[in-house]
């Protein structure tokens, strides 16, 4: 009896094995991908083998192995994350069933993500992944080891275009279009402002001309532009760095430390505020303070107020400068001349 | 006139240099007393000695310790080497393939004779490196259709392949005899190989337990080789080909072959290429520039065994190269003297492209020694004041006249303006 039982058990197990090792069909893949809201099949668990293993009828699977965990600190992963989601969305927008237009091939998207470094998804150990992000394209009638790696190089949007190029090349199709997510806010703002400008120009041309001739406006505009440039705005435009970093404890990092040739995009904003403050304070000192005279009838009061305001402004400049030098020291660790903050002065 | 004078000077100079023989002739003959009775080769050796070879004999036997081809591993001790068949592995150790290669690379000439019975490995490997693949040991060339009971291999005049090596004018009736123990070889396609004697059409070389080594005219009985530094190697597949026994038939061929191998004939020498401006100004005094008229000349002599004589040909080519050839044309014979034939390009115009050009004559003909004369010279662009002036170009007259019209009309305008202006002021003053 015991024998019989064990045989039965073995039979059952093999049957189960056969069933579970049977590759996913196109329909099953479609089902799996429709389950998630962004149509990307999640391969976090052991099931990946079953999904990726061929032979399928004619489904390609584009797999992204990534690590969004803050501990990994993978800037590329974070940057590519929304792009990949949008790639999937673009594909399914044009091809609702994941089928190509001629109906001969399917393309599905899959993803595995290291969310916790202590608990790696099994797929990472299976493929012995040491570098992320990795993009692989699984061909229909291959095994789990049968895939094309797609180079992850370039910068910013190039990742997307290169990946799509590679996928199209391997699949021999030419219909994978990437649709930029429409930023409704910017569309609305643009159209409203365009409308307002045209309206104002039509109705109040002379006022517009006056505004255009306003020296102060131009001055502020130019200075703002200069400040933007000095803050490394063009660096962001060309190199597309990530917006901000993630600290070890998961907090936001505003500064890319120990890197003088590199920066987060957010640093431009911080620096813009700092330089703007400086400009206001210096202009206030040179032009604002002497003008205080006009507001006081008694010269004595004016002198007192002037003295007070100028000292306050000078201290404010010192404080902002302290901030700037210390931020710089974060970037350039060996910098020997950071200013001491006022509190340090007071306590020593 | 100047040109002629220049050439004569050169020729006089050449005559002095060329009056001596090409090379000294110390010759080493390596043989195996067990296989070779030197007395059977007296005519062959006599041929060498009459041509003033200083022969050293080196019998290989048990006492032979080593074979010195070089003095203190530096300079070669002999200019020429005759390798008769030798038995035993000892030779392979003493006369390694690498040593032989070095000897040739150093400019030494080798006449290698193979007997199918004893094949020395090192010599075989050496020949392999040149592209001569002799049949393995014991494989004898057979020609069963030649006639019954006649095991000697005989070849007719049409099997003699290279006129520069073995001479001209052979009839089909001429017969050359190889012994019954003849080895044939296969020859690679290298351009430095010179097939000399072809195997008979009906012959083949049988190899034990394998396909035929050679079939029909694929096989060669004698092959020459010339290295880029003009060292010569020749190989014969039969020892008895040289022997006194067949000397009445083969004697002429043997003499020609040894003469060629030991650089006593078909040696070319250039007395230096020279290029100048068309008016004979040298490059050194006036560097070339784009579009200059140039003359290129080269003189070539041939050693006929006794004298330097002019070498006449019509396929001598000159190239002007900047990575790829810009010009390539045949040189014409211009001047023939007792010693030398001077070739000239005639006057030609340098290309309209500045750069560092190479002036090359590379004459490589199978059987003749190689000549390569190359000279690298810069051809500069036009200097700022070497372009034609604007007024020399008729097309520019339109623009020139335009410029001067504008200038003069402006001057006139200013004058008129000043004059009329004054009047206005006066008028106004008057009116006020």
């Amino acid at each position: 009896m015991a024998n019989c039982k064990s045989i039965f058990l073995v039979l059952f197990l093999t049957l189960f094995q056969v069933l579970s090792t049977f590759a996913y069909s196109d329909k099953q893949l479609l089902k799996a991908s429709s389950k998630t809201s962004n149509k990307i099949i999640s391969l976090q668990d052991q099931k990946f083998e079953q999904i990726l293993r061929g032979p399928r009828e004619n489904s390609y699977i584009l797999l992204l192995l990534t690590a969004t965990s803050p501990n990994v600190n993978c800037a590329n992963c974070l940057e590519f994350e929304p792009m990949f989601a949008n790639m999937a969305a673009s594909w399914f927008q044009d091809h609702p069933d994941g089928k190509t237009l001629d109906g001969t091939k399917n393309l599905f998207f899959a993803k595995a993500d290291v969310k916790d470094t202590n608990n790696l998804p099994p797929i990472f150990t299976y493929y012995e992944i040491t570098h992320v992000p990795r993009i692989m394209l699984f061909t229909p009638n291959g095994s789990t080891k049968d895939f094309q790696s797609i180079n992850f190089d370039g910068e910013g949007k190039e990742h997307v275009t290169r990946t799509i190029d590679a996928v199209q090349r391997y699949m021999e199709i030419n219909e994978f279009a990437y649709h930029e997510p429409i930023d409704w806010a910017s569309v609305i703002i643009t159209s409203i402002s365009a409308f307002v400008i045209i309206f104002v120009a039509k109705r109040h041309g002379d006022i517009l001309l006056k505004v255009l001739k306003m020296r102060l406006l131009w001055g502020i505009g130019c200075v703002a532009f200069i400040i933007l440039m000095l803050g490394g705005f063009m660096f962001n435009q060309i190199k597309h760095p990530q917006l901000a970093g993630v600290g070890k404890d998961g907090g936001i990092l505003y500064f890319l430390e120990r890197e003088t040739q590199n920066q987060f995009a957010i640093e431009t904003q911080v620096l813009g505020v700092i330089y703007g403050l400086f400009s206001i304070l210096v202009v206030g000192l040179t032009m604002g303070v002497p003008k205080i005279d006009y507001f006081y009838s008694k010269p004595d009061d004016a002198t007192k107020v002037k003295a007070g305001v100028s000292i306050i402004l000078a201290i404010a400049i010192y404080m902002v400068f302290t901030g700037l030098t210390n931020i710089f020291k974060m970037k350039n660790v060996g910098y020997p001349y950071p200013l001491r903050s006022l509190t340090q002065f007071l306590f020593h | 006139m100047f040109l002629l004078q220049g050439v004569f000077h050169l020729i006089a100079f050449v005559a002095v240099v060329f009056s001596m023989a090409p090379e000294g002739s110390s010759t080493l003959i390596v043989y195996d007393p067990k296989l070779t009775e030197l007395s059977e080769y007296s005519k062959f050796i006599e041929g060498l000695t009459t041509r003033s070879h200083d022969i050293t004999y080196l019998p290989i036997n048990n006492e032979t310790k080593n074979i010195d081809l070089f003095i203190h591993d530096n300079d070669k001790k002999y200019n020429h080497l005759v390798l008769l068949p030798v038995k035993g592995k000892k030779v392979t150790r003493m006369l390694t393939d690498k040593l032989l290669l070095r000897f040739v690379e150093d400019g030494g000439d080798i006449l290698a004779v193979t007997s199918p019975i004893t094949q020395t490995d090192s010599i075989r490997l050496f020949l392999n490196q040149l592209g001569i693949f002799t049949a393995p040991r014991g494989s004898i060339l057979k020609n069963p259709l030649q006639g019954e009971n006649d095991e000697l291999i005989k070849v007719g005049g049409k099997h003699i392949l290279n006129k520069y090596v073995l001479g001209y004018d052979f009839n089909d009736d001429d017969e050359f005899i190889f012994s019954k123990d003849t080895s044939a070889c296969l020859v690679g396609e290298g351009s430095q190989l010179i097939p000399l004697i072809n195997a008979p059409r009906t012959s083949f070389t049988q190899v034990k337990n394998a396909e035929h080594w050679t079939d029909s005219t694929q096989g060669f009985l004698s092959v020459g080789f010339q290295s880029l530094n003009n060292a010569r190697v020749s190989w014969i597949g039969s020892q008895e080909f040289l022997s006194d026994k067949f000397n009445n038939k083969n004697g002429y061929l043997v003499d020609e072959l040894t003469k060629w191998t030991f650089k006593e004939k078909s040696i070319l020498k250039s007395f230096g290429a020279k290029h100048t401006h068309a008016d004979l100004t040298t490059y050194e005094s006036l560097p070339y520039k784009v579009g200059d008229k140039i003359i290129y000349e080269i003189g070539i002599s041939e050693w006929n065994g006794e004298n330097w004589v002019p070498f006449k040909t019509d396929d001598l080519q000159f190239e002007l190269k900047l990575v790829d050839p810009y010009y390539r044309f045949n040189l014409k014979q211009k001047e023939i003297t007792n010693n030398v034939c001077v070739y000239t390009s005639g006057e030609f115009k340098l290309p309209d492209h500045h750069g560092v050009f190479t002036f090359v004559t590379d004459y490589k003909r199978s059987g003749l020694s190689f000549i390569k004369e190359s000279d690298v010279k810069a051809i500069r662009h036009l200097a700022n004041d070497e372009y034609p002036r604007s007024f020399e170009i008729s097309n520019a007259w339109v623009y020139l006249s335009g410029i001067f019209t504008v200038i003069s009309s402006w001057v006139i305008f200013v004058i008129l303006f000043l004059i009329t202006g004054k009047r206005n002021v006066n008028l106004e003053k008057k009116m006020n």
């Binding site: 130019c222 | 075989r124 080594w213």
Partner: protein, 737 residues
């Protein structure tokens, strides 16, 4: 301001006239003293490298300038002008005289001749090394004059002092940095100074001086295009603002006519001013100002409202027709479109896609903000404030400074090397801001009406002292910052690398010179050396050997040839190099030392540039593993391991310590003996002390006509295996009749 008020107050009596004279005298003495110290500071802070290392030319480009200067000193100017250099870009050669900016060389040659005339024969090398520091002093003076025109002489002195020691300028003008920029910034400031004077006064003399210095600038640096566009922009903005006047007309037309004609005399520039889009703005504004002048003249004769409309419409039409004409001419090919470098300033992704050779240069990268602070310290935040303060005055010359600031801050943001042109305007604007501030807070003159109340003025005095003191403290800090930056970042010759021994002592890595000297002493004088273009000028200058490509990257195809040779298999490379008569190949290898700027790290650029020309033969993809990694260890691709550069870099490397495997200190990967295949076609002839430079010689063509691969196989096989092979029928193509 202060001086002026005193001058005004001291008018009435003769006694005060005397005092006035006295004050003036003291002032000029003080000014002279200040200038003397500024010169001293400017020059001495640039001498770190000479003191720390030696009097040596730095970097790469300066080596060419130095070589050209030596040529000029030993030949006539005519020969220099028509110099055909057959020792670079072999075998094409370079029309060097016609493709360089001769300003730098002629200036230093003139200095050399002058010093000899007055009995001071100084080695030309020392003149070249100390050229930039000397000119930085003149730059400071020109900045002073310029700022004086913008505000007053106190602002001028501040600007001059800033200019003298600001690191953004020092970065390109330390001793030994004998580059075009060393003289160009001086000329830039002088030209601007004369231009401001000219547009202020309408003086033809000043405008001519501006044009002459513009010509000098054109002869010295390709960046002259910046002036060519900035001055017309200034005029254009002024016209738009309705500030046209006859002074502008005479200044601009004089400058443009003389400057353009003069600039066309430089062979390298030639007809560009009328044929390239870079220069079209100047031409357009020249036309515009004629129209505006005519319009103005007509307006003064026939007044009327309708005229304004006619004027406006005709201007618009002319503008549209002009632009359309320009486009048409460009399209038809009569006018050259913007040069690649210029174009990449506007379309920032252009270079990366179309011109890898421009993108590959680190100077052409965008700037992150720390560089701005690093190069200018507290001037960076005075700068926007200064621009704003100028807006409040907005005289004609202020428009110039504002346009300069806005334009150049954009350029500097896009390309790090243009930081250099931004620096002067930062100094000027910051000096204006600071001097305005000091005008308020360093003014301790007590007004007569406040005499009654000393208490109040005491408060006022205190606050003034406090504010001034903080800013004086910043100035003090600025000096420290500048000194620190200069000594740490900008004083390494990059030919000699400083390092530290394990004991902490300073040591010099002198591999470059060791290798170049080896080349000089051990190779034939006409030997041709193939190396990546970065080292072309140094090989030409230090080793005096012919090179295939160099830092004057005029022929992309030729550079691609070297890239292809480096990226191809040995036999193919040998063929390519032999075709170009190359004798030696030089590679830079940092794996032992951990020097990250080596050839293997630049390899991708070589491959990309070669791929641009031969996409079928060189493919970037083949050099990456299927996982997309750039690997050099056992995981490297076959193409990678067979490439010439790989073999040359790692030849003998794994056996340095006899262990058969070795860690590459740059790429942090372990190379083992099995990864490095033998070199058959090349022979190692030299490896420098720290393995940084390795030189290989091409083996001679085999006398016996075998390929080197065959020879290599023959030498490596055993006698037995050869005999065994000889027993079989040969596996080669045979001759048959």
């Amino acid at each position: 301001m202060k001086q002026e008020s005193e001058i005004v107050s001291s008018k009435p009596t003769t006694k005060s006239n005397n005092i006035h004279w006295c004050v003036k005298w003291v002032q000029s003495i003080l000014t002279a003293l200040i200038f003397f110290t500024i010169f001293g500071a400017a020059i001495s802070s640039r001498l770190f490298s000479v003191i720390r290392f030696e009097s040596i030319i730095h970097e790469f480009d300066p080596w060419f300038n130095f070589r050209a200067t030596k040529y000029l000193v030993s030949h006539s100017f005519y020969e220099f002008l028509n110099w055909f250099d057959d020792r670079t870009w072999y075998p094409l050669g370079r029309v060097t005289g016609g493709t360089l900016y001769p300003g730098l060389m002629t200036t230093s040659a003139a200095v050399w001749h002058l010093l000899r005339k007055i009995g001071l024969p100084i080695d030309i090398r020392n003149i070249c090394v100390l050229f930039a520091p000397a000119f930085s002093g003149i730059t400071a003076w020109a900045t002073y004059e310029f700022t004086k025109e913008i505000k007053d002489s106190s602002a001028g002195l501040l600007a001059a002092a800033f200019m003298a020691i600001v690191p953004g300028y020092i970065s390109r003008s330390v001793a030994g940095s004998y580059d075009n920029e060393a003289i160009a910034i001086t000329l830039l400031m002088v030209t601007f100074m004369f231009w401001i004077k000219a547009q202020k006064t309408g003086s033809i003399l000043s405008a001519t001086a501006a044009a002459v210095f513009y010509f000098y600038m054109v002869s010295a640096w390709g960046g002259y295009v910046f002036i060519t566009n900035l001055i017309p922009l200034h005029i254009f903005i002024l016209i738009l603002m309705g500030r046209y006047n006859n002074r502008l007309y005479s200044a601009y037309t004089t400058w443009y006519a003389i400057g353009t004609l003069a600039s066309m005399q430089i062979p390298f520039v030639g007809f560009l001013p009328i044929r390239s889009n870079d220069h079209m703005a100047a031409l357009g504004v020249f036309g515009l100002i004629q129209i505006v002048a005519v319009g103005n003249f007509v307006k003064s004769q026939v007044s009327g409202k309708k005229f304004k409309v006619v004027m406006l419409v005709s201007l618009l039409i002319i503008f549209v027709v002009g632009i359309a004409g320009l486009c048409a001419l460009t399209y038809a090919g009569f006018i050259a479109p913007w040069t690649g470098r210029f174009y990449s300033l506007w379309d920032t992704s252009y270079a990366k896609i179309h011109i890898p050779i421009i993108a590959s240069v680190s100077e052409h990268q965008p700037v992150a903000w720390p560089s701005f602070f690093f190069d200018t310290h507290f001037l960076i935040w005075l700068f926007p404030a200064g621009v704003f303060l100028l807006f409040m005055d907005l005289a004609d010359e202020h428009v110039f400074v504002i346009a300069y600031s806005v334009l150049c801050s954009y350029f500097a943001g896009v390309m790090i090397r243009l930081m250099l042109t931004l620096t002067p305007v930062i100094c000027v604007a910051a000096a204006v801001a600071l001097s305005k501030l000091f005008d308020v807070y360093l003014n301790f003159s007590i007004k007569s009406n406040s005499n009654k109340n000393n208490k109040i003025s005491y408060v006022s005095l205190c606050s003034k002292v406090f504010v001034s003191a903080t800013f004086l403290f910043y100035l003090y800090l600025f000096v420290y910052h500048c000194t620190w930056v200069t000594s740490n970042a900008y004083s390494s010759p990059s030919v000699v690398l400083p390092s530290q021994t394990p004991n902490g002592e300073m040591a010099l890595i002198d591999d470059y010179r060791e290798a170049y000297y080896w080349l000089r002493m051990n190779t034939a004088e006409d030997a041709k050396v193939a190396a990546w273009w970065d080292y072309g000028y140094q090989i030409g200058g230090m080793a005096d050997r012919t090179t295939l490509v160099d830092n004057n990257t005029w022929n992309n195809t030729h550079i691609a040839i070297v890239g292809k040779a480096m990226a191809s298999r040995e036999d193919k490379s040998y063929e390519i190099l032999k075709d170009h008569d190359v004798d030696y190949v030089l590679v830079i290898f940092g794996g032992v030392l951990g020097f990250s700027g080596d050839d293997l790290n630049k390899f991708l650029w070589m491959i990309r540039i070669a791929e641009g020309i031969w996409p079928e033969e060189v493919k970037e993809r083949d050099f990456f593993t299927p996982q997309g990694e750039y690997r050099v260890d056992a995981g490297a691709t076959k193409t990678m391991r067979e490439s010439l550069l790989y073999k040359m870099s790692y030849q003998r490397f794994p056996e340095i310590y006899g262990s058969g495997s070795m860690m590459d200190n740059v790429r942090r990967q372990t190379i083992s003996l099995a990864d490095v295949e033998p070199l058959d076609y090349f022979e190692e002839v030299f490896t420098s002390e720290n393995w940084m430079i390795r030189i290989y010689q091409l083996k001679k063509e085999d006398q016996l006509g075998r390929s080197h691969k065959e020879i290599g196989e023959f030498e490596r096989s055993t006698h037995k295996s050869l005999v065994r092979r000889a027993a079989k029928k040969p596996d080669v193509s045979l001759r048959a009749l």
